[in-house]
């Protein structure tokens, strides 16, 4: 199990335990995280699940080509830690991750 913490725009946090292969956008929707829409259903076609990654314990794979392009083109001021959380997958070697919801 991986511990996933979402910090919402009002500063409140939601922490959940996640299973392998689940992505963070799905977790966010299921747990009512404010500000995550996931309009395209996790197909990496929009920018409505934008987060910044604050902390990683373990391994986290980097963004793919489409995700990098969306971050570059769709987000006005992407951060170095910006990610689309539909593309962040829980895995065995990811112990814990903390993200903050950002403007889509």
């Amino acid at each position: 199990m991986t511990q996933v913490t979402f910090t919402q725009t009002d500063g409140t946090q939601i922490t959940v335990e996640a299973n392998n292969n689940e992505h963070l956008m799905k977790l966010a929707l299921e747990n009512g995280v404010e500000g995550i829409t996931g309009a395209c259903g996790g197909s990496c076609m929009c920018a409505t699940c934008h987060v910044s990654v604050d902390h990683v314990s373990g391994n986290l794979a980097g963004p793919g080509e489409m995700e990098e392009e969306i971050l570059d083109m769709e987000i006005d001021n992407p951060l170095a830690t910006s990610r689309l959380c539909c593309q962040i997958f829980v895995a065995n070697d990811l112990n814990a991750i903390k993200v903050t919801v950002q403007e889509g």
Partner: protein, 402 residues
């Protein structure tokens, strides 16, 4: 107190409800769904869910969202009539629901094959469909898919990928004939064939039996038959209420139907676009038009001016390992130019109409798709010469024009 009633809880209906709630914390919102499932994403059904034995469902909003947002979501609730004269809808159980504003988001229904045995062909439209189809797909050996549009290609490619023998029966000369530039349709047809898909073009279905599909080219044996031959607007309620309809429920640029206080949105709505009328079946349209109509309802309630919906359409289709992405509204009559630098699995095609870029189709080239989307959203004239001057780099062109 009467508030806003939304008929249909697909992508568009839910988007209207959620946007309304964001803009107005108090307006009463009722969201009616004929389905028994909490509203969910439809695109993954034919792109991935149906091929996964676990039949995963992606919810549009979390299970507890509707209660928390004070949206009265009513599942298993069918509307039997709209009564504009008294501003109400009648439900199947006879109950009347009054509205101040009504939103029709009833989407589409799949076309059925008009041939003997046509009812044997299964379709993929709702989660209930894949609950029936999924287990049969897992146990089938030879699958015949009828229809060479996005849904047909997605199902055929997905089934092939999980090891099924697949025949794709297409009436036209290539896959995706109506949806993408001819060269892209030809490329996709070729790539699917290379993976082992039996694609039959110019193939007319005559009848469906328990053993397979009778066509003008002979009999195709199959133990499972799936059809994806398009959909038509669900507009009987609107027609019975005397709303103006065409290929969909006609709305103006603000999403308003011919009756005051009644809006239509998403797949079912036909709206003005570039001097013509357009009905779009897409997530982009459901999402953007949904947000627009929500804003215009709030404007109506506060006696403010509405805003026009001027979209830049985009679409995507996942077919096995192929990712197709379309920006803008493609046109078969346009001039189609291929950007240089393609490999056998990658392609970018620019649609030029009167010398101006109208749409861009890409295969496995997400960066070009996104750049094209951004360029088209600028609503500036873009010519082939401008693309050439930027070394055919769409992103470079976008950054220059921005």
């Amino acid at each position: 107190m009467a508030g806003i009633v939304i008929v249909g809880a697909g992508h568009a209906g839910v988007k209207v409800a959620a946007s309304l709630r964001t803009m107005d914390p108090d307006a009463p919102i009722t969201l009616l769904s004929a389905e028994s499932q909490i509203p969910y994403h439809r695109p993954p059904l034919s792109k991935k869910s149906v091929f996964d034995a676990a039949l995963p469902m992606e919810l549009l909003q979390a299970n507890g969202y509707y209660e928390k947002a004070n949206i009265d979501l009513r599942l298993n609730t069918t509307v039997t009539s709209i009564n504009p004269d008294v501003s109400s809808v009648t439900l199947a159980d006879g109950q009347q629901l009054n509205y101040q504003q009504l939103v029709i988001a009833t989407g589409t229904k799949v076309r059925r094959l008009p041939v003997p045995g046509g009812e044997r062909a299964m379709s993929v439209y709702t989660y209930a469909d894949i609950q029936t189809l999924g287990p049969r797909l897992q146990s089938a050996n030879h699958i015949a898919v009828i229809g060479g549009g996005f849904i047909g290609c997605e199902i055929a490619a997905g089934a092939l990928k999980i090891g099924k023998q697949v025949s794709l029966l297409i009436t036209g000369p290539r896959a995706l004939r109506k949806s993408v530039a001819p060269i892209l349709g030809e490329t996709v047809t070729k790539l699917h064939r290379q993976q082992g898909m039996d694609i039959r073009t110019g193939c007319q279905v005559l009848a469906i039996t328990e053993q397979g599909v009778q066509t003008n080219q002979g009999f195709v044996q199959a133990d499972l038959i799936i059809s994806g031959i398009g959909a038509q607007a669900n507009m009987q309620l609107a027609q019975a209420a005397d709303l103006t309809t065409g290929h969909g429920i006609l709305v103006d640029e603000f999403g308003r139907t011919s009756h005051s206080h009644i809006y239509a949105v998403g797949d079912v709505a036909e709206f003005p676009y570039g001097g013509d009328l357009l009905r779009l079946e897409s997530i982009q349209n459901a999402t953007d038009q949904g947000a627009n109509v929500a804003a215009n309802i709030i404007a109506e309630r506060h006696h403010q001016a509405p805003k026009a919906y001027i979209p830049t359409p985009w679409f995507w289709s996942d077919q096995g390992d192929l990712k197709l992405q379309m920006a803008g509204l493609g046109n078969l009559d346009a001039e189609h130019k291929v950007l240089p630098g393609n490999t056998p699995n990658n392609l970018t095609v620019v649609h030029l109409s009167k010398g101006r870029m109208m749409a861009v189709d890409t295969l496995n080239m997400p960066a070009n798709h996104l750049a094209a989307r951004k360029l088209l959203e600028m609503k500036k004239p873009i010519t082939w010469a401008m693309i050439e001057a930027c070394d055919f780099d769409l992103k470079k062109l976008f950054k220059q024009l921005r």
